[in-house]
């Protein structure tokens, strides 16, 4: 849905790579997880607990909580507020969350 004006590979900067479910995603250092996903053609972060409807980042500023994902085992992380890190594991969040300790 979104593309970069200049892709991270095209610049001299180092790139960050991380896993999203079964996929490898390339990002620019300093990107948020949400921006990295949206520019990699991934548009869905989670599904709702009520009707299982797909949801995607909506506000990109931490207000709507539509971008919740699991990062390295931590659920309910706002993808638009979390910075990408090399080697991180991001997972979609399906339906209701189990309570974890």
């Amino acid at each position: 849905m979104f593309k970069r004006l200049s892709p991270p590979e095209a610049t001299n900067e180092a790139v960050v790579t991380f896993r999203f479910d079964e996929q490898t995603v390339t990002a620019r250092p300093g990107d948020t997880v949400a921006a990295a996903l949206l520019t990699s053609g991934i548009s869905i972060c989670r599904s709702t607990p009520v009707s299982n409807a797909p949801r995607a980042p909506y506000c990109m500023m931490g207000v709507c909580f539509e971008c919740l994902v699991e990062v390295d085992g931590n659920p309910n992380v706002q993808a638009c507020q979390a910075e990408v890190r090399d080697g991180m594991h991001v997972h979609t969040q399906q339906g209701a969350r189990r309570l974890t300790s």
Partner: protein, 462 residues
């Protein structure tokens, strides 16, 4: 628990200006921000944006450079990427940074938490592919990312037009701007033009944006009175009606960016329960503030858009005022001295905000953009429709806290940030009472997700 003289939340224009003003008067503030880099939403990612062609984002964006430089003074204890999950009336602040929670205390607090976009609950607004105009701009500033296929922008207000021109300059294809400004608004706003002329540069900037869009031949459809987003599992098309025409028109697009102005982000001021009032002109809640921008809670002030929408430049001026207010409260300035220093700022502020009545009338969102249909979701998290809220009113619910317990509306992960204003307005409308009487959600910490493990760590060290 460590007690600091001054803690400022937010590094938008208001927070940054407050910090440097306080420092000038011998206060070394702690400045907390959720974002990894300073600037707030307006000057977002200014220091590391991949958009290097300065023309694309425009000079107003780059004017934030000096504020950010001021914040970088080594005497300022600036803490980026830190989340506030708790604030008490005793000015204790719960912070979370890198998985580590802690509590600090402040003699004086300035909340500069800014604005959020007004929710625009239309049919299909939860489909992936539908986002806010602000999110489009954040993606542009911070990641240099733009819509891949022709994008549709819908709504009204300065931000929508600014984003459209920024896209235009970046070579992004715009399928259409669906302008929801009601046609009679231009006439209504006319009587506020003389006042607005006191801030002629902002007025001219708006005119310039419109001209730039027209010259480029961007399809600008005015008088849009109904709007819906459709698609299976993902946005596929946008449908709209124009005033005076009963037929739906359609555009195929994978991206729709909505905007209906901005409103104060009152999540934290609500959570500390300071007194709020309903601003009938701006159709939004705002905390009641005194002349030094203090709330009714001793030692807690609000500067910038969080206290009522004023715009970036005025927000910085309010930051200066709040900084002087802090110096006064902390005994660094006498009342006489601070009043004297505040005078030119108050004058400049009055001149800058003279454009607000004009903008507020012109872009006042019409009812259909604020009160969702019976079948449209008001609460995105718990999927509660406008119809369910109206039914709750029929059953006797007078305020949002009642509908919350019956429908879970406002109880999802966003804690009512997205549906709060909509539910207050829906109930007020259905019950034929004022929004003020209807009230707002009662909020409780934590404001942001925090695990028991993180909390326990803070308690041990507290």
């Amino acid at each position: 628990m460590i007690t600091h003289d001054l803690v400022i939340l937010g590094t938008g224009p208001a927070g940054m200006a407050a910090a440097t003003t306080a420092l000038e008067h011998g206060i070394t503030p702690v400045v907390i921000d959720e974002q990894p880099a300073a600037g707030g939403q307006i000057y977002r990612a200014l220091e590391r944006t991949p958009v290097l062609d300065r023309r694309i984002l425009g000079e107003d964006y780059w004017s934030g450079e000096s504020l950010i430089k001021g914040l970088k003074d080594p005497q300022i204890d600036y803490r980026p990427a830190s989340t506030v999950w708790q604030l008490t009336r005793q000015r204790e602040i719960g912070l979370l940074h890198d998985d580590k929670a802690e509590m600090i205390c402040a003699r004086h607090i300035i909340l500069a938490t800014g604005a959020m976009e007004r929710p625009m609950p239309i049919a299909g607004w939860t489909l992936p592919g539908v986002m806010t105009a602000g999110s489009g701009q954040i993606l542009l500033k911070s990641a240099g990312a733009v819509p891949q296929a022709p994008v549709v922008l819908a709504g009204c207000g300065p931000l929508l037009l600014l984003l459209a021109t920024q896209y235009l300059r970046a070579g992004v294809e715009i399928a259409a701007i669906l302008d929801t400004t009601p046609r009679d608004r231009y006439r209504a706003a006319l009587k506020h033009v003389p006042g607005a002329l006191r801030n002629v540069s902002t007025l001219l900037k708006g005119v310039g944006l419109l001209r730039e869009l027209r010259r480029a031949g961007v399809r600008h459809i005015r008088g849009v009175s109904a709007l819906r987003a459709e698609g299976s599992g993902q946005l596929e098309r946008v449908l709209w009606k124009q005033q005076g025409d009963d037929n739906w028109q359609t555009l195929e697009t994978p991206t729709l960016l909505l905007h209906q102005g901005v409103i104060p982000n009152t999540q934290i001021t609500r959570a500390v329960d300071c007194h709020h009032e309903w601003d009938e002109q701006q159709l939004a809640w705002r905390p009641r503030l005194d002349e030094w921008l203090g709330t009714d809670i001793p030692g807690i002030a609000v500067a910038g858009d969080g206290g009522g929408i004023v715009g970036a430049k005025a927000a910085a001026m309010q930051g200066q005022l709040a900084g002087l207010g802090a110096a006064l409260a902390l005994g660094k300035l006498t009342l006489e001295n601070s009043t004297e220093r505040a005078q030119p700022i108050r004058k400049a502020l009055a001149r800058d905000t003279a454009i607000r009545p004009f903008l507020d009338v012109l872009y006042r969102p019409a009812k259909q953009w604020r009160l969702p249909d019976d079948d449209t979701l008001a609460c995105r998290c718990e999927e509660v429709t406008g119809g369910e809220i109206r039914r709750m009113a029929d059953m006797g619910c007078r305020g949002p806290n009642q509908t919350k317990s019956f429908t879970r509306c406002g109880m999802g992960p966003c804690q009512g940030r997205m549906c709060g204003i909509t539910v207050s307005e829906l109930l007020a409308d259905a019950n034929q009472q004022s929004v003020e009487e209807t009230g707002y959600y009662r909020l409780r910490p934590p404001f942001k997700p925090i695990t028991l493990g993180q909390l326990a760590k803070a308690a041990e060290e507290g």
